[in-house]
């Protein structure tokens, strides 16, 4: 039965699709078709995996049938099944959108590269989430990172190149730190399998080496997930990359890194009770809060809308890290729900940016004057997704903030609950700036005629927008999965 091999097919199919795209280089249409088919296949596989996990518990798949601690194990539990669905779903929605958007934003000679690298990136991200082996994770981390660098450098703006260079630098440092951390763990325990590590770490938990490993891992993964103040690579990379790339990476790459952080803290170090150790929780919490505010404040003053959203991502990542730092079931569930919800709304917002760029070749806020009248559907999508970012009830943003606030109150940490609310009010300001220009400023004299974005861009955008409303009204599904996963991670060990 082929479905037994789903955990590995998930990675293999896009991985093989990549060289096929390369071979079909003269036919951009065919490369697009292959990449789309691969992404849709992955969506189907991840959804069926999620249902299987919900149904019958964790799936363990042994690569090449080598037994676990020696061979590589793919281990799908509720947490990564959830993350896999997010990645695949975003990929499957962005692909149909990419066709028109990429034709407009990437030089025709390089279009095949986009699809090739997209497939590689998808394989890498899905691999990170699927694998149960810490070193295998590093390999996928590098696959996704290098394909990500290429994708970003495809932007026509020449600044995309320096942005990529900076991302390469930081990404490499992050990956190196990660591998140093893993190396230290290996030194102390002699294993790379995550479950095996989890079993062996408690015995050596109080050694300096393990502490150092934890520090390296935190900073390495923190770089990848753009935790403040390690986010410096992110704004330029998101700003100058082609819109489809930004939409995809913004809602998957950092999310996968958040997943890795959760996996490291709660599975690998799960038995060591690291949150009882003095500075772990405090440092995470302080950085999360600092990121929430610094990111939002910087976003308020941005002139470029894509850059503004990039800084807002830094702030939003803060919410997820905050949820993790509570280390309670509600907090972790809140962080994970926000991971899902933020993927939806940020993807929608960056897709809107792509629609706007498609028509007016700019995403500067000042150039959006009067767009509310000229591109009503696009701007309406921005408003709804923006409301979600703020956290207005009946949108996903509200649901995740609700659980984060609840988690803070559960612990009796009033000031933190207040800070969560306060920082989401900052989002009102930066979203409103765009709304004000788009709806209340007149169209500048002599501006070229602008029509609504084509349907092939609008439909994926609105799918994301509607999803971010749907899951805001009917939050029970996401909540159930996240809550069960959080219970598994926190309560399962005890």
């Amino acid at each position: 039965m082929i479905s037994v091999h789903f955990p590995v097919l998930l990675v293999l199919v896009p991985l093989i699709a990549a060289p096929i795209c390369l071979l079909l280089r003269p036919l951009p249409g065919a490369t697009w078709a292959i990449a789309t088919a691969a992404s849709w296949f992955c969506l189907y596989v991840t959804v069926s995996l999620l249902f299987r996990v919900l149904d019958s518990g964790t799936i363990s798949y042994l690569l090449g049938n080598w037994a676990a601690p020696w061979g590589i194990e793919y281990r799908i539990d509720l947490l990564n099944a959830f993350v896999l669905v997010i990645i695949a779903a975003i990929g499957a929605v962005v692909m149909p959108y990419a066709r028109a958007s990429v034709t407009r934003e990437v030089s025709p000679r390089r279009i095949y590269l986009f699809y090739t690298m997209f497939c590689l990136n998808l394989a890498g991200l899905l691999g990170i989430a699927a694998t149960g082996d810490a070193f295998n994770l590093f390999v996928f981390l590098e696959i996704s990172a290098f394909s990500g660098y290429t994708l970003i450098s495809l932007g026509r703006d020449r600044r995309a190149l320096t942005a990529t260079y900076r991302y390469v630098l930081m990404g490499t440092v992050g990956a190196t730190f990660y591998v140093i951390g893993i190396g230290m763990l290996y030194m102390m325990t002699g294993t790379l399998n995550m479950m095996d590590l989890a079993a062996r770490i408690p015995a050596v938990a109080q050694t300096r080496t393990i502490h150092a490993a934890l520090a390296f891992l935190t900073v390495g993964v923190g770089l990848k997930l753009a935790m403040f103040p390690l986010h410096t690579w992110l704004p330029n990379a998101y700003t100058f990359a082609p819109s489809a790339v930004t939409a995809f990476l913004a809602s998957t790459a950092t999310k996968v890194a958040v997943y890795v952080l959760i996996r490291m803290y709660f599975t690998v170090f799960g038995g060591a009770e690291i949150f009882e150790m003095f500075p772990v929780r405090e440092t995470l919490m302080v950085l999360a809060l600092a990121g929430m505010f610094a990111g939002s404040f910087v976003a308020i003053f941005q002139e470029n809308c894509k850059r503004m959203l990039a800084y807002s991502s830094v702030a939003q990542v803060g919410y997820m890290v905050l949820g993790i730092s509570f280390a309670t079931v509600t907090g972790l569930a809140g962080g994970m729900i926000h991971l899902f919800n933020h993927a939806l709304m940020k993807c929608a917002l960056f897709l809107v940016m792509g629609c706007i760029f498609y028509r007016i070749s700019s995403v500067k806020i000042a150039d959006m004057a009067g767009l509310g009248k000229r591109m009503p559907l696009t701007m309406a999508a921005f408003v709804v997704a923006g409301l979600s970012l703020i956290g207005v009830p009946a949108t996903v943003g509200f649901v995740s903030k609700w659980y984060l606030v609840l988690a803070a109150l559960e612990k009796g940490w009033w000031p933190i609950a207040a800070l969560i609310v306060a920082s989401s009010l900052l989002a009102v300001i930066y979203i409103w700036r765009v709304v004000e220009v788009a709806y209340f400023r007149p169209v500048p004299e002599g501006a070229p005629e602008v029509t609504e974005a084509p349907l092939s861009l609008l439909v994926p955008t609105w799918i994301m927008v509607l999803a971010s409303v749907y899951f805001g009204i009917d939050a029970s599904r996401t909540f159930e999965v996240a809550h069960a996963a959080a219970t598994l991670l926190i309560g399962g060990g005890k």
Binding site: Y165, R166, L169, M170, V173, F177, R208, H211, A212, L214, A215, F216, T218, V219, G222, L223, P229, L230, T232, W233, P235, N236, M277, F278, P279, V280, T283, A294, F297, V298, I300, F301, Q302, E303, Y311, V392, P393, A394, V405, L406, L409, E410, A417, A418, V421, L425, F440, A475, S476, F479
Partner: protein, 564 residues
């Protein structure tokens, strides 16, 4: 046959239909909305009719009891009046947002739990702001945003209160809340913002005079009265409300005296009237609560009538300042009559609706042993008579002849004012149906010799003074209003007291504001310095510095973990 259709749905569907229709069809549709709503109300069952689960809470979308039912009736009437009055307007935004606003307020009335209440609470804020923005002047844009921020903030505070309360009690049901914890205090603050408690009231006098002539009718009816309803359900008998309410009745008088913009005068008078209701809720006895609720009922109608008459004047003349108007009774005789009926009602003339409602609160204050509160309320009643009863109709329609000659108000406006005026008189003459609707049984008779004589004495004496001053020409016409009030209470003391008050507290107020502004400005400058495009947090760092930063973060982590 009973209905369990949530009343707000009729309004929301109606708004949707109004958005896509035009002309005569839309007018018919608009008028049908509150009528169909009224019909549905007639057949509406009692109890928890619509419930659903969200997360792990049981939400009650539609809970009907006597209190919410009474308010919903008057909200339907107000919606009908507002729509009829605005029927000639050709602005989709105003029509749609007006209906949505009315529907959201009605939805909030029937919310059986605090989360549903919060959702409608915010909906009223978001839908109503368009009635202000629709005026499309620069000031109305700024006012609209200020209004929206304050209203949304009230919702956020409400939500915070609900969360805290949920943590304490494990329930989100909307029943008696009381002040026994931080949750209750936050919820009271949220209600207080919408009810325009003293110091929290500035949004009201800022926003209502800036709305469109027709938008103010909607605004004046719903937001504050929704808050009164919420207070009556959540905080009856909370003692602090007595003093808050008494302050609310008194302080706007001073501002209303010196205000020239007649719609602003009405806005202050609105706060004063809401003060009576809040006091009643604070006293919390059956009589007081009945008084507060019936006062809200009567008040919505006569306040709408007054705002409508001013709206009609503004619609025809484009002016609203007392000094610019006058002598309009020649051009707009019907409007003047309706305005006088509204003025008589708010001043509580016997046989008008204000009389049968207001005296209950006053009587309750005496019964419960609050003599000082009673005196404040009496002073406030006199103040009402002055600034709403005399100043409004006199400056607009009589006083010196401004020379303005215009047409009578359009038919739909007159019709709306007629309906409101009819209701004012009907309730005044025959209050039994209103009393029957009240939450508790009523054994109160407004038409005792004592009540009527006391009120008549108060009113006739000021009428006499008014006539004497007018005939003797002692004062320029514009000043008559003030002097009648002075004749009645403090004679000349009042204006000078006001002036002294402003002279003393003006500079303090100014200094505090200045300090606050400077502080805020400094914070913003500081934030901008670090977070602005050139700031250290936003600027693109050189790659070397970037990596150095990462290494320092690692170093900090290592040191911290090693120390532990």
């Amino acid at each position: 046959m009973t209905s369990s259709l949530a009343p707000f749905l009729i309004f929301y569907v109606g708004a949707g239909l109004a958005a896509i229709t035009r002309g005569r069809l839309r007018q018919v549709l608009l008028l049908a909305v509150p009528l169909v709503g009224g019909l549905n109300l007639f057949y509406l069952g009692r109890g928890d009719l619509v419930t659903f689960g969200l997360f792990d809470y049981d939400l009650i979308l539609l809970r009907v009891d006597k209190l919410s039912f009474l308010f919903s009736i008057v909200f339907h009437i107000a919606a009908f009046l507002g729509i009829l009055f605005a029927l000639h307007v050709k602005d989709t935004t105003q029509h749609v947002s007006g209906i949505l606003y009315a529907g959201s307020s009605i939805g909030a009335l029937f919310a059986g739990d605090l989360i549903t209440l919060f959702i409608f609470w915010e909906m009223t804020a978001i839908t109503s702001v368009f009635l202000i923005l629709a005026r499309k002047s620069a000031t109305s844009q700024a006012t609209g945003m200020r209004y929206l921020i304050i209203q949304v903030m009230s919702g956020v505070i409400l939500l915070a209160g609900v969360l805290v309360r949920y943590q304490q009690t494990g329930s989100v049901e909307f029943t008696f809340i009381g002040l026994d914890g931080p949750g209750g205090a936050l919820i009271l603050l949220a209600f207080g913002i919408k009810a325009a408690f003293p110091l929290l009231h500035s949004w009201l006098v800022d926003a209502y005079p800036e709305a469109t002539p027709t938008g103010t009718i909607f605004l004046s009816a719903f937001t504050t009265k929704l808050a009164v309803y919420a207070l009556a359900r959540g905080f009856p008998g909370t003692e602090i409300l007595i003093y808050i309410g008494a302050t609310m009745t008194a302080f706007p008088i001073f501002y209303a005296v010196i205000e020239n913009d007649l719609r602003k005068v009405l806005s202050y008078s609105l706060i004063n009237q809401v003060g009576f209701m809040v006091t009643g809720i604070g006293i919390g006895t059956t009589l007081a609560l009945n008084g507060a609720v019936s006062h809200a009922f009567a008040h919505i109608i006569y306040k709408a009538l007054l705002f409508m008459s001013m709206g009609a004047v503004m619609f025809r003349t484009g002016k609203i300042n007392g000094t610019d108007l006058g002598g309009l009774y020649k051009s707009m005789p019907l409007t003047s009559i309706f305005c006088i009926i509204g003025a008589a009602s708010i001043s509580a003339f016997p046989l008008f609706s204000g009389f049968v409602a207001k005296s209950m609160v006053l009587a309750a204050a005496v019964e419960e042993g609050h003599p000082i509160v009673w005196m404040v309320l009496l002073f406030a009643s006199a103040g009402v008579f002055h600034h709403s009863g005399i100043k409004i109709p006199f400056f607009a329609f009589f006083a010196h002849d401004s020379g303005i000659r215009c047409k009578e108000a359009p038919f739909n406006m007159l019709a709306a004012m007629f309906v409101a005026a009819f209701l004012c008189i009907a309730i005044g003459i025959y209050p039994a149906p209103l009393y029957a609707l009240l939450p508790a049984a009523v054994n109160f008779d407004p038409y005792t010799a004592g009540h009527v004589l006391a009120q008549a004495q108060l009113l006739f004496f000021s009428a006499l003074a008014f006539t004497y001053l007018k005939l003797s020409g002692l004062y320029p016409p514009e000043m008559v209003g003030i002097n009648v009030d002075a004749e009645w209470s403090y004679r000349r003391l009042l204006p000078s007291a006001v002036r002294a008050f402003i002279a003393t507290f003006g500079p303090i107020d100014h200094a505090v504001r200045h300090l606050a502004m400077r502080g805020t400005q400094r914070v913003i400058v500081w934030i901008f310095r670090h977070h602005g495009p050139e700031g250290v947090l936003a600027a693109t760092m050189p790659s070397g510095a970037m990596v150095l930063g990462v290494v320092s973060v690692l170093a900090v982590f290592l040191v911290l973990y090693f120390v532990s």
